[in-house]
Amino acid sequence: MRIQNSGFKIIILSLSTLCASLFTASSAYAMHISEGILPFNWALLWSLAAMPFVAWGLYKLKKESSVDLSFKPLVGLMAAVVFIISCMPIPVPTAGTCSHPCGTGIAGILVGPAISILITAVALLIQALFLAHGGLSTWGADIVSMGVMGSFAGYLTFKTLRSVKINLAVSGFMAGLLADWATYLMTSVELASGIRGDEAFMPLFLKILIAFIPTQLPLGILEGAMTAGMVMLLYRKRPDLLVKMRVLKPEEVAG
């Protein structure tokens, strides 16, 4: 791809490449557990745990796309969006550094957990293969934390809040927030069990959890805001899309 403009270059650079170099203690393994951190057994275990979910996503994909030819391209598009969002460094004032949101909350809301997991798996694989962001051996672990936990948390939060008539923006915000935090909780579990060696699990887990807090607390809020913004944008400008993806019922859009 050509980059013609230095100003734009700066934005894109800050969007995608600086994220690699500006990571800090806690955000370093914020969402993506890097290649090689997990020993073989753990890598295998998490991969086995992730596979049924991915298979579920594929099953759904097949079902949906057989009635709607435009479904696969749409899923591909969402995967690209998740890819870009989760490459985006966000300055976190409390830690004076950068971390990144994951975008699974919005995906969970728009296409449901099954497809959202599939989307995350795809985005993670491209990042692992071509950016050394995450890894092949930690792919399974990353799918479990970002895909499974994030998607379900986002989806369930949104559905629950919507069913008790909470408005769209707040539901979106909470979905994004909880998706982010659920991911970080799970990542801490995976990391603690993966690198503890002979240490006890709990203390290390807490240590990691605490290390995450300065970045992940505000980041969750940011992700919430972003998710809410995206939902509201679609609601205002393209409600037909939300109806098509069954986020809203047609009668909720009219007027």
């Binding site: 050509r2 013609q4 403009n5 230095s6 100003g7 400008k237």
Partner: protein, 284 residues
Amino acid sequence: MENSVRLDLDIKSFKYPDNTVALSDIQISMKSGEFTGLLGSNGSGKTTLLKVMDGLLKDFDGSVLLDGTEIRRLSPKEIYRKIGLIFQNPDEQLFAPTVFEDVAFGPLNMGFSEAETSERVLGALRDVDMEHYAQKSIHNLSFGQKKRICIAGLLAMGHEILLMDEPTAGLDPMGEYRMMRLLTELNRKKGVTIVMATHSVDLVPVFLDNLYILSRGKIVRGGSPEEVFTAPKDMEEVKLRLPHIAEMIYKLKHEDKIGFGKIPLTVGEARREILKIMEDVKED
């Protein structure tokens, strides 16, 4: 500023990152208040040249001077207060959700108040005959309507130099004619310097002062329309043709040996020439 040089190009070569050489050896300059045309076949480099003149493409060998200063040394703000570019593909230019918001983007950035902006926007929309569409979503316009909004977006800003990449492609004949009238007016009355890339050979002679023909990234000919449009064969070499009117008279003159003097390029001129010839014939 009358007759001072506003844009002075001396481009040795420009290469895209995939090594396509899109421009080479280009030396032209546009004086203040001139209406210049760039004519050339597909892929001849018109768009590339306009983007270079607009400061969007910077990796060229040579120099582009805007009012005497190398354009790569100017900040975007300094460039875009003076120069406005209309992109060939409207989708490259429109980004705001509604027509009004899109056209208002420029004036707001120039620091106009809301009232002033709104006035400018409506004026510009009226100029392109789209005043009833202000609240419509950009996405829901026809191609020609999008093209009109692109033009309105620049008109609302009131630039001193306008670069237009096929401004009339996709407009209906009436729109095309009105657009060209509007541009001529801007040019004549307000002294706006205009550079227009186009394929519309029929339109060119009616409006332009100066004309350059591009072929494979090189300027192969330049001058007034009369000087440039000569024999059909020369035009075919660069994948262009004469205006229809000129073609007909050319054939009458050279194949049917009817004694036309110079080849007229527009309907009006041709009509006069034909009437004159008929008088001559009658008198014989």
